[in-house]
């Protein structure tokens, strides 16, 4: 599992959803949690943020979660940041597109604390393998 000291960035245009994710993360022991309301603001924060985990909504105005993910994976400094996408619509074609862009995991809304925990554990395992390679 992630070290609870990991610095996390939660990205969502809906304040309510940011609050839900933050609440669950706190229940899972995380405390260093930051927020951004779209991909552009998140990208700006990543330039100096040093985040160890990004949890981003998919469907956002200005810069979508997928566009934000593409920018992260294309950036030499940020490319290996663990990235979890949150979506309300997990259709096969969309999932395939997210994998192509390098997402580590995705979670479908609505989700419980346990569901997010499972996804975080899976993300952590994937990232550990990636970093060891």
């Amino acid at each position: 599992m992630f070290d609870p000291k990991t610095k996390v960035l939660v990205v969502d245009d809906m304040l309510t959803m940011r609050k839900i994710v933050t609440k669950i993360l706190k229940e899972l022991g995380f405390s260093d949690i930051h927020e951004a309301q779209d991909g552009q603001e998140a990208w700006d924060k990543c330039q100096t943020g040093g985040f160890g985990l990004i949890i981003s909504d998919w469907n956002m105005p200005n810069c979508t979660g997928l566009e934000f993910l593409r920018r992260i994976r294309a950036d030499q400094k940020l490319a290996k940041t663990p990235f979890l996408l949150v979506t309300a619509e997990a259709e096969q074609s969309q999932v395939a597109e997210a994998i192509k862009c390098g997402v580590d995991q995705y979670v479908v809304k609505p989700f419980s604390k346990d569901a997010l925990k499972v996804k975080l554990e899976s993300t952590y395992k994937k990232v550990s393998v990636r970093l060891a390679a």
């Binding site: 309510t16 839900i20 105005p61 979506t87 096969q92 395939a96 192509k100 809304k109 609505p110 419980s112």
Partner: protein, 276 residues
Amino acid sequence: MDSFVRPCYQVEKHEGYTVVKLEASLDFTNCKVFETQVEEISSNVYVVVNCDSLPELPKDWLRCLLKMHLNTKRDNKFLKLIHVNGMLQSCLKREGIDTTFRVAKDLRDALQETGLAPKRTLDTEFINPFLTATVHVLKVQAQIEATAGQIYMKKPREVMTGDISGVIGIISDTFDGSVVISFPEKTFLKVISSMLGEEYTKIDQEIVDGAGELTNMIFGQAKIVLNEKGYGIKTAIPSVISGKDHSLSALTKGPVVVVPFTTPHGKFFVEICLSQ
């Protein structure tokens, strides 16, 4: 669906026609598999190839499309491409086959001359996914049990009122509609308080978008189920209407179904509208 798959095409068979959706990740290996299915896909049916988000067609895939095109011609049917963007048009021109394939705007346009364009009605197949999604979303995200009441058709001059509502448009190639989820203040505050783990006593900027997020989740869940049945509903962003006893009208003209729900914290309702 909880596993990662990498399909680069999907085939939906309907009565009299087949829709083939090609993804941007077309590769040689999947083309070999697709090639073995060409005869089955294109025999004695109209074929519509959805090229949405496809920047180009590799030569192997073009060959498969040409085979399907010839099969449909043999059977006095047709193959049409839909959602063809500028890049793909240039690619077809480069290959010298830009006039070989017939191109249509969307599925409805492609099937217009055949009379097969799917008609959608406000039946249980369409309504039930929204009903199930509403119950599921409230249970998982707010730990609240909602129970659906008697569904009824809204009368022409009937006015529904709520204190806060989430609205989302239903857009697809073959029909339009809308979904509205409307709460009295008391019910909404209980739902949001339960979702966020804090007690809220008034609707303010901090929680107002919660109605939109609930709508988004319910729409998203229903969309997965409906699109597996070939409805082709596209992604949309919800909006929120807030104000004591505001009245609501659907985004599109057509019959409206009202689904009343009860919870231990009060009532709310969902309105589903489908244009004719």
